[in-house]
């Protein structure tokens, strides 16, 4: 409850206007997220690594030409991360159980209580009632705090255009699909239905049901049901989660608890904003090395040029 009060106090008070959702929703929201929040159940036991979801995302989000074709499987030789040019990537993981290596699609997990949102000085992020975590590129100042705050290392920084939003990440196809009740492009194209779209609450039931019905196929855990306060995108796996690159050290407390003090700055920032701007900018520049660790190195280099 404490956390909720805190949220109300800081987020609503400071920035209700920039949150698309009415402040009431925040107040009644629980750690289960919005009651009507949608989600996607990613069943990694079904994924065949065809990368169709990557191609579909590229088209739907009008992303630039990829470096290699979407049917090129050589990409699996590396563990890729989401970038400004690819809001979702599929990776292959080697396991030691002698079975065929599992694949896992990654993208923004659309947290119930997103670290990116709570850490953003200018409140560029919105958690919509449909469950999507979207952002307003017009207000983003490129401070990259969200990149550091995201426990899943998702937001990527865009150097390519002065007009595009600076931060880039999966938006759950909010503007073109989710808003209208339609499934995301990546979900729709998946030939294996490794991705199932539905109400988050239904997906959790469905996930547990799959585990119950075919216990040999899954470990008894839905990643994202509780992790970091819960996420809209959920994962089922045959092998322990850390073997498919899911961070099992995060715990179930949302990022909010960790950034409390930090978050306390928000209202102040909003009032004495102009004076602070240069300070934040300095901070961002100084943090650049830190950001490099988490993000595409080659792009960082390019960006400096």
């Amino acid at each position: 409850m404490k956390r909720r009060d805190f949220l109300k106090g800081c987020l609503i008070g400071g920035a209700a206007a920039s949150l698309g959702a009415p402040s009431k929703s925040w107040a009644v929201g629980s750690f289960e997220g919005y009651p009507d929040a949608m989600g996607v159940l990613v069943d990694t036991t079904r994924c065949i690594g065809c990368r169709s979801c990557e191609a579909a995302c590229n088209k739907e989000q009008k992303l630039p030409e990829p470096d290699v074709p979407f049917d090129d499987t050589s990409v699996f030789e590396e563990k890729r991360r989401t970038t400004e040019k690819a809001y979702t990537v599929v990776n292959r993981y080697e396991t030691n159980d002698g079975q065929k290596p599992p694949y896992r699609k990654m993208q923004c997990n659309h947290c119930n209580e997103p670290g990116c949102l709570t850490s953003c000085f200018v409140n560029a992020y919105t958690k919509t009632k449909e469950g999507a975590v979207i952002y307003n590129g017009n207000v983003c100042v490129g401070c990259k705090t969200c990149m550091v705050a995201c426990p899943f290392n998702i937001p990527a920084y865009s150097y390519s255009s002065a007009f595009d939003p600076l931060i880039k990440k999966c938006i759950f196809c909010y503007h073109t699909r989710l808003k209208f009740g339609k499934p995301p492009a990546c979900v729709e194209i998946c030939p294996q239905e490794a991705l199932t779209f539905g109400l988050r609450s239904d997906l959790i039931k469905m996930g547990h049901e799959r585990i119950r019905e075919t216990p040999d196929r899954y470990i008894d855990h839905i990643y994202g049901e509780k992790e970091m306060g819960g996420t809209s995108w959920l994962y089922l796996s045959r092998v322990p989660d850390d073997q498919i690159g899911l961070d099992t050290t995060l715990g179930n407390e949302p990022v909010i608890s960790n950034v409390k003090d930090f978050l306390g700055m928000v209202p102040m920032v909003l009032t004495i904003w102009p004076a602070l701007f240069s300070g934040i900018h300095l901070l961002a520049t100084r943090n650049k090395d830190h950001g490099d660790e988490h993000h595409n190195h080659s792009e960082q280099e390019d960006g400096k040029k």
Binding site: D67, D72, D202
Partner: protein
């Protein structure tokens, strides 16, 4: 082709060509079925049903509980121990072409057990690929369906492959 049983695997589909003469129920079993008629990214193709009948012998390998040997899966048996063969055995008879809508899952009869039923596309891919893997059948996308020009563009492949391929290690490097 030893089994009786209703066969009518019209899947996404147009039924095609000569059918095997009557089975015991007077329902015909197609030798071939045209699949994938709706896709823009891949061409339709002719599924050789007769060959698969010969290869697998057992109808229920693909048509699970609807024909051939009846249900054995311990989960299904809980309700279907005494279920007989069904009238409808085509894939599309049970698996919807469009299973996607935000509320679809909620609108379904809450008493229905089979809520987690895959769409037609997924049912076929999972059934075919699952078996192909065990039987060493073809696994590549284009082993079954050729990509269209639009598909090539979509995947940035073939004639649409990225021209300025960066040197190895630069792209996606982490």
């Amino acid at each position: 082709m030893q089994t009786k049983g209703i066969w009518l695997a019209g899947v996404l589909v147009v039924l095609f060509l000569a059918a095997v003469p009557d089975t015991s129920r007077g329902i015909t079993v197609p030798d071939t079925v045209i699949l994938n008629t709706q896709s823009k990214l891949y061409e339709p193709f002719t599924f050789n049903h007769a060959k698969h009948i010969q290869l697998t012998k057992e109808c229920s390998n693909c048509h699970h509980h609807t024909t051939g040997t009846l249900v054995q899966d311990p989960n299904c048996v809980r309700c279907h121990r005494n279920s007989s063969e069904t009238q409808e055995v085509s894939c599309k008879g049970c698996h919807q072409t469009d299973s996607f809508s935000a509320t679809a899952m909620h609108e379904k009869d809450p008493k229905t057990y089979h809520k987690d039923k895959p769409s037609l596309k997924a049912a076929m891919h999972r059934n075919c690929l699952g078996c192909h893997e065990n039987m060493k059948g073809p696994m590549g996308c284009q082993d079954c369906h050729q990509r269209t020009k639009e598909g090539d563009a979509f995947y940035y492949s073939g004639a649409y492959a990225p021209k300025n391929k960066p040197s190895k290690g630069e792209h996606n490097g982490h």
